[in-house]
């Protein structure tokens, strides 16, 4: 299977749902013009990141009227975008939806909400408690939002449960300006490399750009291929939309050569957890 992914490295306006929806529609139309099958936006792309008390104002259920235009467009292209989800429990979640064929197929709630140093997500958001694994026309798909990607246990479990395509919408602030690349870029590179190389997943990492109150998001979105490595690499700091091709035809041969996924045995982990719990 071969399909085209658009990586929408955008700069959302903080707290301005109306502007951001229009910007998303324009991005989706641009991706449609060049024949993309899937478009992925950054974390909280429909709302902006540094929302603080605006969280209450911009939270919406995934099937809200404001997103109707995007749902309609998803008849022609699958869309993954970030938003503040108003749960049926009334709690705001830092979520990403996956729309396809005119419907919201899946919503992932961010599991690991950084709340330390410059981050204060748990002050405003409820915590998601489920791994995101769902079947799409692209095969078994998963979503991790930003910090989720840095939790190998969860990402490994998703791979062990058959996820082939991992979508990683992010809002990673730039920091560590001492080297050829930013320190955070290096960290993300390690995660992308290990997820693709060892866990055999295609990763679509889409990070935003622009500033929210002094935090500058660095972009650097990437498509990471289990065999070819990083095949799409977006520039730092620039708002761009880039296209990448996912070609799964060589995956079986690669896995035959390096059968890590075939070897995977979650029972070992389960036994370890049970032993630990009972000890």
């Amino acid at each position: 299977m071969t399909y085209t992914v658009a990586l929408a490295q955008v700069n959302p306006a903080c707290g301005d749902l109306e502007y951001n929806v229009k910007m998303h529609v324009a991005q989706v139309e641009q991706a449609l013009e060049v024949g993309a099958d899937l478009i992925v936006f950054p974390e909280l792309s429909l709302t902006g990141y540094m929302l603080k008390d605006q969280t209450l104002d911009v939270m919406r259920p995934a099937d809200c009227p404001e997103f109707t235009g995007l749902r309609e467009l998803s008849r022609h292209i699958a869309i993954c975008a970030g938003f503040v989800e108003q749960g049926t429990d009334g709690i705001p979640y830092n979520s990403a939806f996956f729309m396809d064929a005119g419907e919201v197929c899946h919503v992932h709630r961010k599991m690991y909400l950084p709340t330390h140093g410059m981050f204060e997500e748990l002050k405003f958001f409820g915590r998601g408690g489920e791994l995101s694994i769902f079947d799409t026309r692209f095969g078994r798909t998963g979503i991790v939002i930003c910090r989720d990607l840095f939790h190998p246990l969860e990402v490994s479990t998703m791979a062990a449960l058959g996820v082939e395509l991992l979508l990683a919408p992010s809002a990673m602030p730039a920091r560590g300006f001492g080297g050829e690349e930013l320190a955070i870029e290096h960290t993300v590179g390690l995660a992308l490399g290990s997820v693709s190389t060892f866990l055999g997943m295609f990763v679509v990492y889409v990070n935003r750009v622009g500033f929210d109150d002094g935090l500058g998001f660095y972009g650097g979105s990437a498509l990471s291929d289990p065999v070819e490595g990083i095949t799409v690499s977006a520039p730092r700091f620039e708002a761009v939309q880039l296209l990448g091709t996912v070609d799964t035809s060589h995956i079986a041969r690669h896995r035959y050569q390096l059968p890590i996924r075939r070897e995977e045995d979650l029972a070992i982990v389960r036994r370890a957890l049970e032993t630990r719990r009972n000890s």
């Binding site: 001492g178 050829e180 500033f211 700091f237």
Partner: protein
């Protein structure tokens, strides 16, 4: 010892800070910046970044001397106006300062220095209103951390592009941007009285101060660990004291909480709310 971690990829920092200046202004609905130029390195660097970010026609800068300001300050401010291709702008604050100072016999030089810094603040904010501009601040991380700045004086501004760069990093970035050598090489001074230098007042070179600050603040090393790296114990404890005793300058004034939502405590919005 030297801390290599203070070294920066200056090209990357330049790109990032220019975008910061651009976006922070534009998000707030402004295209113009206002900068008080002192003749020193910090304001020279901020001026260059702002000119490169916004275009020379969008940066309004002015030299605000007092009668005791050093001739070197005027010379170097002049060099920066020329370097950036901006016509000379000067407003002497001696008259307005002396009106008050003559009413304060025996005023010491610290009070005088603070007064001058606050008069410059009043002028630059008024100029910014005239130009429909935002005031771009010139404080660096070293002085913000040890409190070597005047509260509501030179610290007052809308954005601080170099507030997370230590002084030694400011020098390095200035070299990268090709600022006039005389501006980079001169001893840092607030120029609040004749012969004043930062390092004379703080009691240590910026090279050493920045390494101690980096270990204490960025690396969160306890003082004992910093001292074990070879830094003088009195210096390290002195720097710690300066950081703590100047904390009030880095926060908004506490508001007595009475209601469900209190400004500064739990009325939480980003600076560019609604922009």
């Amino acid at each position: 010892m030297t801390v290599d971690a203070l070294a920066l990829n200056n090209a990357l920092v330049e790109d990032y800070l220019k975008r910061f200046v651009q976006e922070e202004l534009h998000t707030s609905g402004f295209t113009e910046a206002c900068i008080a130029l002192s003749g020193g390195l910090d304001s020279a660097l901020v001026l260059k970044l702002a000119v490169d970010a916004l275009g020379v026609g969008h940066v309004h800068t002015i030299f605000l001397p007092y009668k005791t300001s050093s001739p070197e300050s005027r010379r170097d401010a002049h060099a920066m106006f020329e370097f950036c291709g901006i016509p000379w702008q000067e407003l002497d604050i001696s008259g307005m300062a002396d009106e008050y100072l003559t009413l304060q016999p025996g005023i010491d030089r610290l009070r005088t220095g603070n007064l001058l810094a606050r008069l410059r603040m009043a002028v630059i904010f008024d100029q910014s209103k005239k130009e429909n501009a935002l005031v771009v601040g010139t404080s660096n991380k070293s002085e913000l951390l040890v409190g070597y700045s005047t509260w509501y004086g030179d610290m007052a501004c809308a954005i601080m592009p170099i507030g997370d760069l230590y002084k030694t990093q400011v020098r390095s970035l200035a070299r990268h941007l090709g600022l006039p050598q005389q501006v980079i090489a001169k001893p840092p001074s607030a120029d609040l009285w004749a012969g004043q230098t930062d390092e004379g007042e703080i009691g240590v070179s910026y090279e050493t101060l920045d390494q101690v600050l980096f270990l204490l603040v960025d690396q969160r090393c306890p003082a004992a660990e910093v001292i074990s790296e070879g830094f003088d114990a009195d210096l390290v404890h002195g720097v710690e004291d300066k950081i703590q005793s100047s904390q009030f300058k880095r926060t908004l004034p506490p508001i007595a909480k009475l209601s469900q939502r209190t400004v500064g405590i739990d009325f939480l919005y980003p600076r560019d709310w609604g922009k």
